[in-house]
């Protein structure tokens, strides 16, 4: 494949980080979480909803409705709409699409929202019909949903790199510590190594604290020009680079790496930053093995060495070094469907604008947000990454 010469994302601002607190179960529709997000976005940016002329959404539970249904539901008449259905890659991709639209003048203020509800039995229905391949070729084999596939991926990774269950604990424990300081986290009980190891068995090497809790909620932010953000007098973050890669390494019999390793060098080069310049790292943590895969493939350590890498440093929000998933990630906040793919971006915007909710990292300037998503059959097909930096007022 020929290498691309991408245009940068200069002069694009991300503002108004919104997290609608999660609940384990909700009898509300997805629309409710979209509506609450839109209200919060307008309040934070001090704009009227009519100023929002672009909407990008991600949701599993909005069906049979789509983004167009939301325009009627909320009496809005945007010039640009987009729906990104890429699970844990949705946030970064929505941001990319929105940034381009702003750069090209297709819209001025774009709301990017990941929202999902979680009704009783809703998760089972979602899993049973997640994709045509999974209905045919994974669901009939134990009906474990994502836990089944990820237990196989985790077991293979353990065999390949000679690891034990204990090696996956550090990610979960440090994130739980972060969650204890983050207002909106659902799971705040202190987690010890003993708790982790003795937790209820789920599938293969996966036990309770390796798995995310499905829940309802939303994450949202606004994309606009830097000029507009300054005009509105709102704190903002800028985009230093975005990369995407889909269905990478499709001939690997079991997934142990993703597209990040193909684009990582280019991502850092385009951002004019080194790995050591990154203050905040947000990996998509649906399972600790997936976070470790991202840490390796993004080049923070060698392949197969993430367990050692995370063991040897403090990843918590008050650490002087690299901070990982500062709000506790999905493993401690819960997985609100598509909102999980927006969570890292929203938390990074809060951190980089010094407006964290109880877990402020000391003076961060850069964040890397990594996305992973869509287990269509036996592996996640989306790998995306973005570097954000604190906004510069000229």
């Amino acid at each position: 494949m020929s290498s691309l010469q991408k245009t940068g994302f200069d002069k694009v601002a991300l503002v108004a980080p919104v997290s609608i607190p999660y609940t384990k179960i909700s009898d509300k529709s997805a629309h409710y979480f979209f509506g609450r997000s839109l209200k919060e976005l307008t309040l934070q940016a001090n704009i009227h909803k009519d100023h929002i002329d672009g909407i990008a959404v991600s949701s599993f539970t909005l069906l049979p409705d789509t983004v167009i249904s939301l325009t009627e539901y909320f009496d809005m008449s945007p010039t640009w709409i987009e729906q990104v259905s890429l699970g844990g890659a949705s946030g970064v991709v929505a941001m990319q699409r929105a940034a381009r639209a702003v750069q090209m003048g297709d819209a001025n203020i774009i709301a990017c929202i990941g929202a999902d509800t979680n009704k009783k039995e809703g998760f089972k229905e979602l899993v049973e019909n997640f994709s045509s391949f999974s209905s045919e070729a994974t669901y009939p084999y134990g009906a474990a949903g994502p836990n089944g596939v990820f237990s196989l991926i985790t077991q293979n990774y353990m065999d390949k790199f000679d690891l034990s269950r204990k090696d996956f604990a550090k990610i979960c424990l440090d994130q739980r510590q972060n969650a204890q300081h983050y207002e909106n986290a659902l799971l705040k009980t202190k987690l010890t190594l003993e708790d982790y190891l003795e937790a209820r068995h789920i599938a293969g090497p996966l036990h309770l604290f390796d798995c995310v809790m499905p829940c309802a909620g939303a994450e949202a932010f606004l994309v606009m020009s830097v000029d507009k953000a300054i005009e509105l007098d709102v704190p903002f973050v800028e985009i230093a680079g975005i990369e995407e890669r889909y269905n990478a390494y499709s001939t690997d019999p079991v997934q142990y790496r993703g597209g990040w390793s193909i684009f990582a060098n280019h991502l850092f080069e385009s951002a004019h930053l080194a790995r050591s310049d990154i203050d905040l790292l947000y990996t998509y943590d649906d399972y600790p093995v997936i976070s470790m895969m991202q840490i390796e493939d993004l080049g923070f350590c060698d392949k197969g060495k993430a367990a050692e890498f995370v063991k040897n440093q403090d990843l918590t929000f008050d650490s002087p070094g690299l901070v990982h998933n500062s709000s506790g990630g999905q493993l401690s906040c819960g997985q609100a469907g598509s909102a999980a793919g927006y969570m890292g971006i929203v938390e990074a915007i809060r951190q980089l604008t010094n407006s964290a909710l109880g877990n402020q990292v000391s003076r961060p300037f850069t964040a890397l947000i990594s996305g992973y998503g869509m287990v269509n059959y036996d592996r996640g097909l989306c790998s995306v990454g973005s570097i954000l930096k604190a906004g510069a007022r000229l």
């Binding site: 045509s132 391949f133 009939p140 084999y141 474990a144 836990n147 196989l152």
Partner: protein
């Protein structure tokens, strides 16, 4: 849906085969099944017998299933296997004691929901039915 189990006597060595959707034009195996070839876009896909032996790449026991039929006392073993010809499948695993690298063969069988599914068996083991499997699992 994915064909039948065949066993052919060939100078006393049993060769087990399963039937998988395969492209008539380029021979690419289509698993999960496709109506158009994943490789050459041909629409001529037919079930063809292929060697059912392979190795176990990863294994897991499901302790928490969304479907009652898999809630057996010791959990439900599944595996990722790779056939000698290269096709990778997630399948039921007969014996949870089998680990990475074990030689296996696949057999197809009908599950209670009427789906043709595959199970990985030790090479030496004879064909089983879903009823046999459940009997074994409920012990």
């Amino acid at each position: 849906m994915f064909g039948r189990l065949h066993s052919q006597s060939r100078s006393k060595v049993m060769t087990y085969t399963i039937s998988l959707p395969t492209c008539d034009s380029c021979n690419a195996v289509q698993y999960p099944s496709r109506e158009i070839c994943r490789n050459c876009f041909s629409e001529n896909i037919t079930h063809k017998d292929t060697d059912a032996s392979g190795i176990l790449l990863a294994h897991s026991t499901i302790g928490h299933s969304l479907h009652n039929q898999f809630s057996t006392p010791a959990g439900w073993p599944i595996a990722t296997v790779q056939l000698n010809k290269g096709t990778v499948l997630i399948v039921h695993l007969f014996d949870s004691a089998m680990t990475t690298g074990a030689k296996i063969r696949l057999q197809s069988l009908m599950d209670p929901d009427g789906r043709r599914v595959f199970i990985a068996l030790p090479l030496s083991m004879k064909a089983i039915s879903w009823e046999d499997l459940i009997k074994e699992r409920m012990k």
